[in-house]
């Protein structure tokens, strides 16, 4: 029984350490004072500041627009890519496409950021909304492919044949038979691309410019200047949003699929294969 107590103590400690910083942040967001080391009383003050901070609000909007747009476009391109990979006749072509697809899945963010920066500069593309959007689309496409492809592979071959047999054109077969059948995969891909985009810091940090900023980049630059309880207020709100997202994903049965977790899974799959 003593063993039981020690092991539970250990687990409790791990959980405390895991959650302490998060609740610490949230706790101090209600501080009347301006520091994270002395709680001098309860107030909504920092939330008020946050809500009247027009720069912060426009950054939140930017972040959302980038996330929504990039995930939408990545989903379209990725789905087409998955269909393309599926219909590739030669195994070498298929594997080649898959390997290229996975390059951005395994590359460290700094590398993606730096190489995209070189790329945009090389093309003379000005840094800002456009470059950030393109980058987010780019790093989200592979995950959409990886979500959609298994769904296509699951489709019975005979289903497509049956559609042709019943007189459907290839376009009709695609829109009336294949796409409806892989919709769950497409949705999963979309949601994942969305979280990838919301979560990203490093890539955006490299390719942004001209004053364009997203939440992560903004938090970074504020954090470099020291403690600012407006950031705490922001983190409380973001915590709530994350919680809602997780609950949503949990209900969808795929809570463990943000970007890093996806990479862990990829590594597991590779080692276990």
């Amino acid at each position: 029984m003593k063993k039981w107590r020690i092991s539970n103590l250990y687990l409790a400690l791990v959980f405390i350490v895991l959650y302490l910083p998060i609740f610490y942040l949230i706790f101090y967001s209600f501080n009347v004072g301006d520091t994270m080391d002395h709680f001098s009383g309860f107030s909504w003050r920092h939330y008020a500041t946050l809500l009247s901070d027009s720069r912060m609000i426009s950054i939140v909007l930017n972040t959302l627009i980038i996330a929504l747009l990039s995930s939408l476009i990545a989903t379209i391109v990725g789905t087409m890519g998955a269909l393309g990979i599926y219909s590739a006749k030669k195994a070498t072509v298929k594997n080649g496409l898959l390997s290229l697809n996975n390059v951005l899945m395994v590359s460290p963010d700094v590398i993606i950021g730096a190489s995209f920066l070189i790329f945009f500069t090389f093309l003379g593309f000005s840094l800002g909304f456009g470059s950030v959007l393109l980058s987010h689309i780019a790093f989200s496409i592979p995950i959409v492919v990886l979500m959609v492809l298994p769904k296509i592979n699951e489709l019975p071959k005979t289903m497509v044949d049956a559609a042709y047999d019943l007189g459907a054109s290839s376009w009709q077969t695609l829109t009336k038979v294949i796409l409806p059948a892989i919709t769950p995969g497409i949705f999963a891909g979309y949601f994942m691309a969305f979280t990838y985009s919301l979560d990203d810091f490093a890539v955006t940090f490299f390719v942004t410019g001209n004053g364009f900023s997203t939440l992560s980049v903004e938090i970074y630059s504020r954090a470099r200047q020291g403690v600012d309880l407006e950031v705490n207020a922001l983190s409380t709100l973001m915590f709530i949003v994350s919680l809602l997202l997780v609950v949503g994903y949990y209900l969808l049965g795929r809570y463990n699929q943000n970007r890093r977790l996806q990479r862990v899974k990829a590594a597991e799959a590779k080692i276990n294969q």
Binding site: L25, V110, A114, S235, L261
Partner: protein, 269 residues
Amino acid sequence: MHKKATYLIPYLLWIGLFVIAPMALIVYQSFFNITGHFTLGNYEQYLTNGVYLKMTFNSILYALIITLSTLLISYPTALLLNRLKNKQLWLLLIILPTWINLLLKTYAFIGLFSQNGSVNDFLRFVGLGSHQILFTDASFIFVAAYIEIPFMILPIFNSLAELKPSMINASRDLGANSWQTFRRVILPLTMPGVKAGFQAIFIPSLSLFMITRLIGGNRVITLGTAIEEHFLVTQNWGMGSTIGVILILAMFVVMYLTRDRKVKGGRIR
């Protein structure tokens, strides 16, 4: 057949423009110096100038320390979690913090570790006096490990959950005590999980720059910080790309070393 080609264009374009071109460009860029002339000087400098080698060595050392300490904390955690009743729910609670923006978690430590922060309060309370915690190597390692722990627990947990209970029973049946069972059966059979966790943490730890900057202070201590520094501060893209190429090579080495060694027809030891 014409149609097929059309709908593939965006995806192929993406591969060309955002997968092949940037990777090619980073290699290409590594052969140019700051004034835009072709040179092998970056590599030469990297290999001969002690600063770069030392930085690389330190980065690898830090990444190793981070990964191993994460492993040390995560393995027992995964083991204990696996014994709990609602283990999937508890696992979800381990994973939940990974959904909180990385920047925010790091930012929290700026408060916790500051001169008058809670950690120093606690140290004073137990009579150890206050210390400079922020901007030290220890705080950098601690925060990095904190961020990475769930990514190590998850694969180990999964490999433990897959372990058939009859394996453990068989080992006990053959006379092995708890420790021998762990050493000879559980650990080898969960190695794939450990390797996956190692991969998932070691490479990001090499390329970290955000935590280094915020918690480790304004020092260049990882390959990631070095790349960021060269690209965004000193504007020496050639050198930055060279370090990037090194990082990519390091990535391949790690993936090679942690690959599954079980090959068809036999085992390499």
